[in-house]
């Protein structure tokens, strides 16, 4: 996920267009800024980790229930 890429630049950009783009868009709306400037990763607290895992387990379990229902439905 560390991969970066460069979107192709517009073939011909006039000075008016450049000025217009810079005036109309906020700095981090520019594609080149978005591509090279990402949000830093945050550290999860133990409570957040527990919540994440609890909901993941809930989801896996409930998907099992759905599969069971389909299986009984088919039978």
């Amino acid at each position: 996920m560390e991969k970066q890429y460069d979107s192709p630049a517009a073939a011909k950009v006039s000075r008016e267009e450049l000025t217009a783009v810079m005036t109309a868009l906020e700095p981090d709306q520019l594609i080149s800024t978005k591509e090279h400037h990402h949000c830093p990763r945050r550290q999860l607290t133990p409570t957040e980790m527990i919540l994440f895992w609890a909901l993941r387990i809930y989801l896996v379990f409930m998907f099992g229930v759905v599969v069971y229902q389909i299986w009984t439905g088919v039978r």
Partner: protein, 475 residues
């Protein structure tokens, strides 16, 4: 060849601004202007010019320029499986408990989607990108897997609705599905987010076709009003079937793809923090229109309940046929057309949400402003997912209604983990600054999560130990 200019050079005569995400100003390194930037800047220029003018007409024009993602996401979620869930609800329960219940589910959708408006406008990033960046690839891939599985299953059901809706007019399944793929592709030819949005908005308004269908059934408005304000108890108590319908109706309004779609669409449209108020109005208006269409669908099939007809074996087109004695051929045709439209608009929005999410995590260009050559992976993911789902629908012998209801149930089950990501992102002061959720919004969001987890657990109990439903007031 890339044409590069330095930021100070480009900003000559303009005031540098910094976004809440980038508290530090953008570096003065060379900047590449892309085709996508130019298109988005043109859209933003129109917004700025309109905002600068005073009066009612400029305000209305500003509203017109800024609405879109909210209405699209809400009417897009009134999709094939959703309309079928509402139709099954009307046919099975008539007018009563579910009238206020459906209004409540759309209120829940408003609470959730409002958070994506703020997040998208403040960060200019899509939902998948923020999850990957902020929580890392481990949790990011989990979230992507939930989205992709859910989106693919839902897309299958959209093509079921398309097939069934056109089936009413005698269109063969293969022709119906191929025509839908053609429409989906044509909408992309514009290569402009703005044009694409207006076309799909126009198509989405057709969702209201269920209103005249409902009027043709001559509903008893007194009963509807009473049901709305008194919220009568669930008829027959909690049973396995009622729990399934309850979950299907919740899943018809709040699903993970909506979070990803609206935030990405807001970033693609170029909305900023100045536009959040309009984003909220857009979302509430979308929810109001979708509520009207959902209630109309339920009212339209209520005669089947009044005449003690079973909905158990009805599929989308069969609902239309079953209604024909009550609303005539034209009414039934409108109902079938509505099913087609619901499937068509959702097929477009859902496949777009997958393409946005894929582009964001694979770091590939992802915008409806991109020409095909520059956004190959974006358009290919969008089209290939739709083609795969459409192909599955042509396999004979698929139990349609059952699949459709279960898809909505799966959406409800996948929502709590998706909402946790959203809740944490929108409360991330580093990213959101002053736009973090206020306490009341957090209370509402936690209320929605509690209802969703509770509904999921109720579904689990109804499947594993149906007799235990008696403990929570069922039988």
């Amino acid at each position: 060849m890339k044409e590069t200019k330095t930021l100070p050079e480009l900003r000559r005569g303009t005031v540098p601004r910094s976004n809440l995400l980038n508290n530090q100003p953008t570096s003065d390194a060379a900047v590449v202007i892309t085709h996508e930037d130019i298109d988005r800047a043109h859209d933003r220029e129109r917004v700025s010019a309109t905002r600068a003018r005073r009066g009612i007409r400029p305000r209305l024009r500003l509203f017109w320029l800024l609405i879109g993602p909210g209405i699209l996401v809400m009417l897009g979620e009134n999709d094939g499986p959703s309309m079928l869930s509402y139709a099954a609800t009307g046919a099975r329960f008539g007018v009563g408990f579910f009238v206020p219940f459906i209004v409540l589910t759309f209120a829940m959708a408003c609470v959730v989607q409002e958070m994506t408006v703020r997040l998208g406008a403040a960060t200019h990033r899509g939902h998948a990108e923020l999850i990957f960046d902020r929580f890392g690839p481990f949790w990011g891939w989990f979230s992507m897997a939930d989205l992709m599985v859910g989106n693919f299953l839902t897309l299958v059901t959209e093509f079921i609705a398309i097939r069934a809706g056109l089936g009413f007019f005698g269109v063969r399944p293969a022709v119906a599905v191929f025509s839908a793929l053609l429409v989906l592709s044509v909408a992309l030819i514009t290569h402009r987010y703005w044009t694409w949005e207006r076309i799909i908005l126009g198509a989405a308004m057709f969702n209201l076709v269920f209103v005249p269908v409902a009027l043709l059934t001559h509903p008893h408005w007194g009963s509807v009003g009473r049901a709305l304000v008194t919220w009568r108890p669930l008829p027959g108590g909690l049973t396995q079937e009622t729990v399934l319908i309850l979950l299907a109706d919740i899943g018809a309004t709040v699903t993970p793809w909506m979070l990803f779609f609206q935030q990405s669409a807001i970033a693609d449209k170029g909305l900023t923090t100045h536009d959040i108020r309009f984003g909220r109005v857009d979302t509430v208006l979308g929810a109001a229109l979708a509520t009207v269409a959902a209630l109309a669908t339920m009212l339209a099939t209520a005669p089947l309940f009044a005449h003690h007809m079973s909905a158990a074996n009805f599929e989308a087109a069969e609902f239309a046929q079953a209604l024909q004695p009550f609303i005539g051929h034209w009414g039934a045709a409108l109902f079938a057309l509505g099913m087609f439209e619901a499937g068509m608009v959702a097929a477009i929005t859902i496949s777009t949400s997958s393409a946005y999410a894929f582009g964001e995590v694979a770091r590939r260009p992802h915008s409806l402003n991109l020409p095909f050559r520059q956004g190959k992976s974006f358009y290919l993911v969008l089209l290939l997912e739709a083609v795969a789902a459409a192909g599955l629908v042509l396999i004979p012998g698929i139990p349609l209604v059952y699949i459709v209801l279960l898809v909505n149930v799966i959406a409800v089950l996948a929502m709590p983990p998706a909402l946790l990501f959203l809740y944490m992102l929108v409360n991330d002061r580093e990213m959101m600054g002053a736009l973090v959720s206020p306490r009341w919004a957090n209370v509402l969001a936690l209320g929605v999560v509690t209802i969703l987890v509770g509904a999921g657990l109720l579904f689990g109990i109804s499947v594993i130990a149906p007799n235990a439903l008696a403990l929570v007031g069922g039988r």
